[in-house]
Symmetry: C2
Subunit: 233 residues, 2 copies
């Protein structure tokens, strides 16, 4: 019975996620779902990323957290609009929460929307939010076995950010092993080594992200042109 | 409806946890539920702890993991009996899983039973397993805000192990702030600073744990004496 209910809940979520995706696409918004364990550095990476991009592109942020607005207050200081979702103990964001939260951001017309999920490497992986890209952050302090132990989130990732490279000299983290583990279950995932603390490696990730946003806008325009062309037939 | 089902599931779990606790108490077994984010160092701490205690006390381990037996294989090398629970994607252990798993350990008559929960700082906190002590591990690489952002697991903890103290010089982790945050929501929690990697601080934690196990046996014997005395009346 538990499984059936879960599968029905996930079915409903897929439907709303599909609607979210269509809505975001019609507006040309690139949507990023940022996931990781607690303390891997999602918020710090978001701060650095926004700091570089905020002059070039209109950014909105949805912050998921169990109870507090600590991360939202950090992100607001970067001069972008932030909407807080407090899940009140629920361990993940879902598509309905995103649909509601985005209504408060729509007027500011973001081109790039970051969703920072609840810190949890298990449950958020199951819930499509209607995002374009799933970005998973893993810290070099977390050990070498996370990809094989938590495969779902890595299998579904478009990007893996290996964060806290500044701690590499002081840990047993094996970058090549982790890259190899990701490659085995998800060979198309892009991998960037970054340090949110020192800024090392952030440029490559940010350039890549900006290009994705441009591609999204182009594809929207392309679709519009196609639709117009078809309308003329 | 989701909430009602969840509350019914938790109600059933409480009942089984209560039975587990009575069964463990009747055998004088001290039961530890070890919880943390992925990569905080639960397994490494368990390795060090068992290595010190295995000559003094009979130890059993129940390993919770989504899909793999990687941690179980590490722990078995310490010469103790290990039972693996694979939750197949479920984000926490529950009392029923422990009841089943323990049946495989009972014949070896452990006095100290470690349960390593699924790596997740959110969901496991809600599920009583019938343990005596809830031990939460937090790593110094995870930032200073974990106690305020994930309050439930810390509020219900008997012990907090602040792990990876060897990384303290290379992070912004503020031990006093984190101790203070724990004190505000859970003033009776015991806090130990440890490094599973270097062994620093492990002695105090292990001595404390051994004392708890002795107290448990004494309390069982006390109860038995009382029961015998009452039976004689």
């Amino acid at each position: 019975m538990k499984v059936k209910l879960e599968s029905r809940l996930l079915g409903a979520n897929e439907l709303i996620a599909h609607n979210n995706r269509n809505m975001f696409s019609s507006r040309g918004i690139l949507v990023i779902n940022l996931m990781s364990s607690p303390g891997s550095g999602k918020t710090t990476i978001l701060e650095c990323t926004i700091q570089e991009l905020v002059k070039q592109i209109k950014i909105g942020v949805i912050e998921g957290d169990l109870y507090t607005d600590q991360d939202a207050r950090r992100i607001e200081q970067q001069g972008v609009e932030v909407v807080q979702i407090n899940t009140e103990g629920t361990c993940h964001l879902d598509a309905q929460m995103i649909c509601h939260a985005y209504q408060k951001l729509d007027a500011s017309k973001p081109q790039l929307l970051f969703i920072e999920n609840v810190g949890n490497l298990v449950c958020p992986a199951e819930f499509d939010l209607g995002e374009d890209l799933r970005v998973v952050v893993i810290s070099t302090a977390e050990g070498n076995d996370k990809v094989t132990k938590y495969p779902l989130v890595f299998r579904r990732a478009d990007v893996v950010l290996v964060n806290k490279t500044d701690l590499l000299p002081y840990t047993d983290f094996d970058v090549e092993k982790v890259k190899n583990d990701i490659g085995l279950i998800n060979p198309s995932a892009s991998i960037f080594l970054v340090s949110g603390r020192t800024g090392e490696g952030m440029e490559a990730w940010i350039c890549w992200l900006l290009q994705q946003s441009k591609n999204k806008l182009l594809s929207m325009n392309g679709t519009s042109y196609l639709q117009m062309a078809e309308g003329r037939k």
